[in-house]
């Protein structure tokens, strides 16, 4: 009877130009929203500063890492954790938009259907980039230095942001599926906290008990942190675990991000085409 439109299919009249313009319109809308919600800014600005200060000042004296100084070791871990949590905004944001009914408005407009998702993930990328700049500044204050070239340092930042962008799409799908911003926040807390703590973000994996060490070596968060650490030149002479992702962290993160995008972008578009506020 009814022919179903292909999810993500470009509608007639939606040109690449209008697609980019729609994405930009929604990005701007989300950024205005961000500016007017102080709690979000506190999360994006204060929390990274707090983490850098607490870990570098409180634990630096007690946690010994092999082959390097703890502050140098720590920063990539905090970057990784922060951008990962920053990506959860995409989930809470989509859930919030559904709850408020604004998605119904968007879906009755002749705009590009993907623009809402693109705007969402874009604005969260901006948010993550802002957090990153603030963390880098704070890091410099507490004595962190990158020892690799400036280009390699930038590559490390880009790697973190790429992964966070890909992960935003995962969270956007979660947000559209569970539809409650509170649930998204709580669930991501419960999943992401163990994921970042049972990794090499704050401690070296060889110091973890047996099964946790294996988990940490294969944990994607570890690969992300290890990749950034390498690119920043912060690994010193620390031993590198034998697990493949730890030996090739940058490649692992690039491939992993690509896989996430290839899988979750179409899933998100399909979900968005049928999701309705109430």
């Amino acid at each position: 009877m009814s022919t179903r439109t292909l999810p993500g299919a470009t509608s007639p009249g939606v040109t690449v130009g209008s697609w980019a313009a729609d994405g930009w319109t929604i990005t701007q809308r989300n950024l205005i929203k961000l500016r007017r919600s102080p709690d979000m800014l506190v999360f994006a600005v204060l929390q990274p500063v707090m983490f850098v200060l607490l870990f570098s000042q409180v634990y630096a004296g007690s946690i010994r890492v092999e082959g390097t100084d703890y502050t140098q070791y720590l920063m990539a871990g905090i970057f990784g954790q922060t951008v990962l949590f920053g990506s959860t905004f995409s989930g809470a944001g989509m859930a919030q938009d559904l709850k408020e009914g604004i998605v119904d408005r968007f879906r009755t407009l002749p705009m590009s259907p993907s623009a809402v998702l693109i705007g969402r993930t874009n604005s969260d990328l901006v948010l993550n980039a802002v957090s990153m700049v603030i963390m880098i500044g704070t890091g410099f204050v507490v004595g962190w230095r990158f020892t690799a070239s400036f280009g390699s340092f930038l590559a490390g930042i880009a790697l973190l942001l790429l992964f966070s962008y890909a992960f935003s799409w995962v969270m956007a799908l979660v947000g559209m599926s569970v539809r409650s911003p509170e649930t998204v926040n709580n669930a991501s807390f419960v999943i992401l906290f163990p994921l970042t703590f049972i990794s090499n973000a704050f401690v070296q994996s060889q110091n973890l008990p047996g099964p946790l060490e294996t988990f940490a070596d294969w944990n994607p968060v570890s690969a992300l942190v290890q990749g950034a650490r390498q690119l920043f030149g912060n690994t010193g002479s620390a031993p590198v675990p034998d697990a493949w992702p730890m030996q090739h962290p940058v490649l692992t993160v690039l491939a992993g991000s690509l896989v996430l995008l290839v899988v979750f972008v179409p899933l998100c578009l399909r979900k968005f085409a049928t999701v309705s506020s109430r």
Binding site: M1, S2, R29, I32, G101, S277
Partner: protein, 341 residues
Amino acid sequence: MTGPLIEVDGLTKTYRSRSRTVHALAGLDLSVPEGIVKGLLGPNGAGKTTVVKVLTTLITPDAGTARIGGVDVVAEPARIRRMIGASGQYAAVDENLTGTENLRMVGRLYHLGGAAARRRAAELLELFDLEEAGDRPVKGYSGGMRRRLDLAGALVIRPRVLFLDEPTTGLDPRSRIGLWDVIRSLVQDGTTVLLTTQYLEEADQLADEISVIDDGSVIAAGTPDELKAQLGGHRVVVVLQDGADAARAAEVLARHGESAPTLDEQGRELQVAVQQGPSALQRILAGLDARGVALHDAGMRRPTLDDVFLSLTGHTTAPAAGTDDRAPHGAATPTGGGRHR
């Protein structure tokens, strides 16, 4: 264009969840000529919003076809979206943006271009009496202001068809009447409107044609006057001085009336449908007098849409309790025989 602007044939939509299956639409047909206000009238859960969601491309029906201006809503949603505006019962506006920012965003998403979007936003804010509030975030708006802004958002492109899904639900009487005035002035410009409502008074006030919906299909259609004429005759209404007389009075009304009498919630006002209004009124008054029932008031009136709905479906439109003092009075019927819900 010949033919109707909106044509809906045999629309079906079923929602399944673990606990139950809901036939939101069960073969619904609808036809709306260009330039009129069509009212879809029915209680909560009748399927009104589901029809609107199909026509505004938000959901895909399980079966059946829906066309606007000859364009199939399922096959070519993008073309449909360029000719419709929709405003819902939950104001779909962004709380964190100002009124102006909301309308400009919608304008840009209609691809009007920045300058035109700005111009149109200013025009609409003026039209909807929101100029002063335009630069404040919507968070601080009243319910009525949000609805007006939402309606303004639906009019950014001067749509060929405007969908209003319960536009005044939850509004206070003053805001409701204000919104009615706005809708009436739009209609004068020739916009075709599909209006859903559970308020009979609203349909009566605004609609040229009404389709009464219950359980996912249309059970009656016509102009408000035609629908009322279907009931024929008059209604006799008596108001008792003492509610204790209600049972005795109901017996008298039942003897002279064409339907089972209904009693209002206060237990003092009784109604019954009659043929030959004046003589029935006389007989009823004489009967009540003979049985010593004292009256506060008595009279007859033409049937309202509320009566129409009651006679068609066996239940009233039952608006959400306590939210609304302008809603038609509920015809709870202690004496009328199981009509209350």
